[in-house]
């Protein structure tokens, strides 16, 4: 807030945040340092804070374990499904917020589809994609087992309810008058949506996009069951470091770090859009 003065309270608040950040980021810090440890330095008593850093773990992850392929697959799958989720989700959510088709019941039904435990639906999904993969259309859209399309569809279906619900309140907070006056200015309904509503709902969309991306990026069970090798994603790749020779902590943490970095970049990029919410109050009056 602009009127806020620099005071002791303000410093204290920042100090508190710093402590919270340290608590939340410590495991990440530990993960990153572990990824630079040689295997002798990892399981030690007491744990080592100071050690000689090595890049061997990264070399192992990329050269031996083919992580480039996993990362490419993950980007395709998570990216595509997020795009689909945000596209379909935002128009549906907007429609629910404005006109509420189905009087809330359809919306509730959509939420219930997220409640089914994944393990119970994994078998039917497996069978659906096995059969879809044999059809022409499935083949064209990579919908078979061990193909990225299957995962894209699965993630889209599972994240849509979440996205629709999350964006709903953001759309509903947009004052109707703005849309009405835009309509009076001769905008069509689609134009209103794209030029007036969407920019105003940007914080909500950014948050939703981040979470959809994260969920798809980190999902394990579907990725594990629906892929084998060609379409394997990074989480499954990471889990394959649990070996009969013991867990390969070094490469595992290296892979996990590689997994986190793109998300950090996306978060850094998208958080700017979340700030947009600040200007929103001014428009509303």
């Amino acid at each position: 807030m602009e009127t806020q003065r620099i005071s002791f309270g303000l410093f204290f608040r920042h100090f508190l945040i710093l402590i919270i950040l340290i608590v939340f980021l410590f495991p990440i810090y530990w993960m990153i340092t572990t990824s630079f440890k040689s295997s002798e330095d990892i399981l030690t008593r007491p744990p080592k804070f100071v050690f000689e850093p090595t890049l061997d773990n990264y070399r192992f992850a990329f050269e031996e374990a083919d992580f480039t392929k996993f990362i490419r697959n993950t980007i395709i799958v998570a990216g595509l499904s997020t795009i689909l989720v945000v596209t379909f989700g935002s128009i549906a959510s907007y429609s629910f917020a404005r006109w509420n088709p189905g009087d809330g019941h359809i919306m509730f039904f959509i939420l219930t589809t997220r409640m089914m435990p994944a393990i119970a639906v994994i078998m039917p999904f497996f069978l659906i994609f096995r059969d879809l993969g044999k059809t022409d259309i499935g083949n064209r859209f990579y919908l078979g087992l061990d193909q990225p399309g299957a995962l894209v569809v699965a993630y889209t279906v599972f994240n849509l309810p979440f996205a629709i619900w999350l964006m709903h309140s953001f759309f509903q907070d947009i004052p109707m008058e703005l849309e009405d006056s835009a309509r009076l200015d001769g905008y069509s309904r689609l134009q209103v949506f794209f030029r007036v509503v969407l920019p105003l709902a940007a914080p909500g969309i950014a948050v939703t996009a981040i979470f959809s991306l994260l969920f798809a990026w980190n999902e394990f069970l579907f990725a594990f069951v629906l892929t084998r090798d060609d379409a394997r994603t990074i989480t499954v790749g990471v889990s394959s470091f649990q070996t009969q020779q013991g867990i390969l902590w070094g490469p595992l943490t290296a892979a996990a770090v590689v997994c986190v970095v793109p998300m950090l970049v996306v978060a850094l990029f998208l958080q700017r859009y979340m700030v947009r919410g600040l200007t929103f109050g001014a428009v509303r009056g």
Binding site: G102, D103, G104, H105
Partner: protein
């Protein structure tokens, strides 16, 4: 009763039917023997719940239209 209300009532009727059925299976099946009796009981409870809702909604509707027509008869300058 509007379609939306009917759906809502229907939804909860089904939920209640299942609930009664589950209770029957968990606690009464051992003593009260037969599965089919439980099924009948559960379904009738569900139907009863639905029809009571239906009945209430209709009465409410009648009352509403009554008030509406009453209201219509009030001279305009009183509003």
């Amino acid at each position: 009763m509007s379609l939306s209300q009917a759906w809502d009532r229907m939804f909860w009727s089904v939920m209640i039917t299942i609930f009664v059925g589950l209770l029957w299976m968990k606690f009464l099946q051992e003593t009260a023997a037969c599965e089919s009796i439980g099924l009948v009981v559960a379904i009738s409870v569900g139907i009863a719940f639905f029809s009571s809702g239906w009945y209430q909604a209709n009465r409410q509707k009648k009352r509403d239209s009554q008030t509406a027509s009453d209201a219509a008869q009030i001279p305009e300058d009183l509003l």
